[in-house]
Symmetry: C2
Subunit: 301 residues, 2 copies
Amino acid sequence: MKVVALSGGVGGARFVHGLAQVLSPDELTVIVNTGDDFEHWGLWISPDLDTVMYSLAGLGDEVQGWGRKDESFVTLEELRRLGAPAWFRLGDRDLSTHLFRTMRLREGASLTEVTTSLCRSNGVGPTVLPMCDAPRPTRLDVPGLGVLDFQSWLVTHRGPAPTAVLLGSPAPEPSPAVREAIEGCDLVLIGPSNPYVSIDPITTLPGLTDLLQARPVVAVSPLIGGRAVKGPLAEMMPSLSGRQAGNEAIASHYRAFLRALVVAPGEAVPGLVCLETNTLMRDLDDRRRLAEETLRFAVQT
Amino acid sequence: MKVVALSGGVGGARFVHGLAQVLSPDELTVIVNTGDDFEHWGLWISPDLDTVMYSLAGLGDEVQGWGRKDESFVTLEELRRLGAPAWFRLGDRDLSTHLFRTMRLREGASLTEVTTSLCRSNGVGPTVLPMCDAPRPTRLDVPGLGVLDFQSWLVTHRGPAPTAVLLGSPAPEPSPAVREAIEGCDLVLIGPSNPYVSIDPITTLPGLTDLLQARPVVAVSPLIGGRAVKGPLAEMMPSLSGRQAGNEAIASHYRAFLRALVVAPGEAVPGLVCLETNTLMRDLDDRRRLAEETLRFAVQT
C-alpha cells in the first residue's frame, strides 16, 4: 500500500512518526508544508520539514515538539552578544541542518534534493518531500498589526487571530515528486495539522486539489473538544471560517476532497464518515495506535 | 603617538596583543591581512581578522593560536555526520562570528563596518581594519600540486614550499580607513608574520608602498635561528627568495620601506639598524615586553 501523508509541524510530525511505525519505508511518503520557511542569520530555515525529519529520525525534542533533543545553544548565545536577533532559538545541533541546507541550495541543489540528502544522513526511512522547491511564504493579516510574516506572527506575536491567511501568490508549481507521489498512492492522509497555515499551502498548489479529488483522502482532526493540542488554530477559526472551532468547520474546510475524518470520541460530524478514537498523542504508543486505527479505518472507508 | 601595526594571524596577533597592553586604544590601529579569507559552509571566514580580534578581546585559544578558547564543536560534528566538509575546524563560539559577518555582508555592510561592529561587541579597544573591503584571495603554486587556494595549501596540504605566491590580481583598493590610518600615523610596525602570505597582500595594495615609504617602518622578524615559531615560512624562503631562511632575506624582502628590524639575540643584519632581543612570545609578559622594547627602539631610530 502506498500512503501519502500531508503534514505541517508538531502534530502532523507526531502522526507521521506513528505511520512510520506501521508502514514500511517504501509505503510512506510525507509531503510537508514549506509556507513557514524563512531566512534567519542568512540561513534557510524549513521548520516543518525539520520537525518531520527529526521526529522520523528519533532526533526531535519531544517535549517542545520541535528542534533537536539534547540540544545546546552556544552559538545562539554568542550571536545574541554580538547583537544578532535571538528570538528564534536555533540550537547547535539544529544549526548544522540549516547550514547544510543553505550551502547546498546556494550550490544549486533543489530543496527536494537537499531534504532527501538530509533524511538519508539522519537515517529516515520514509520519503519526505517539501511541497514545492520554490519559496511560498505564508503571511497573515491581523487587525491592528497589519500583514505579518509567518514567524513574526507565530513566534513574536504568539499567533493572534488573523482576518486572512495570505498564501504565497502566485503559487509555485508542486515538485514533480509531489505530483508523482499523490498520483501513485492508494490513500492520502492529512495529519492533525492546522488547515489554514499547514495544509492549505500544500493543497492550493496548482493542480493538487484535482489530484486529491481522485484519491481517497482521510484527515485526522487537529481539534479535541474544540481546542487544538498545540497552536492557535481554535482562536483562528471563527474569523476565518465564520464558525465556532470544531470538526464541522474542519470538515467544511476540506470538503473539496475529504472522504472521512478521524475525531475524538463523541465529536463526529453528522453526515460525514467519521472514526471516533483517542486522537491525543502523548507518547510513541499513542502515535502508533492512532496511525494503525486511522489506516484500518481509511482502507475500509 | 599614533601607531599602525600590519598583521597576519598567530604571531602578528600576539605582537598586537602586546602593543595593546602598552598603547592606549586610540593610539593603535591594526591593519590585517585578508588574503586568507575564504568561504566555508556558505560563510565568509576571515581567519587573520578573527585571530587578531580574539587575541585583543582575550577570547582567543592561546594554545593553538587561533579560534576561541573554551570552545565546543557540536555543529561541526553534526555537519560531519551530514557529509559536509569538516577539515576546517569551526567551533560553536567561533561560528557566531562567521554567521554574523556573513549576514551583515549580505545585507550590504562592508567588511570594515562588520569588523568594527564585531570588535565593539567583543570589547576590543584598538581599531582593527581589514586591509581592503573586496576579496583578494592569495593562492600558491606548488610543484606537483599546482595552484592551490590558501586554506587548501595551509590546512589540507600543511604548507608545502611554493614556487610562487599568487596575490589576488588585480589588487583591490585599500579601504579609505587603511589609507587614512597610515597617512595619519607616526610609526608603522610590522608584526612577526609571514612576509609572503601575511604582509605582502597588504603592502602590495595600490599606493601602500608609497605611503609606507613616507613613514618610519620597523618590523619584528618572524624568524628565530632561521626558523619560524609557527608556520611554513622557513621552508618557503629558499624557493621564493633564492636565499637561506634568515633575517637577511627578511630585510631584503622589506627593503622598499624598512627602516629597522627587531631580531633575536645575535641575529642582526649587517648594514641595517637592528634591535636584538628575545622575540619569542610565550606569554602575555613576553608580548608586553617585546611591544615595549620595539616601540622604544622604533621611536629612537
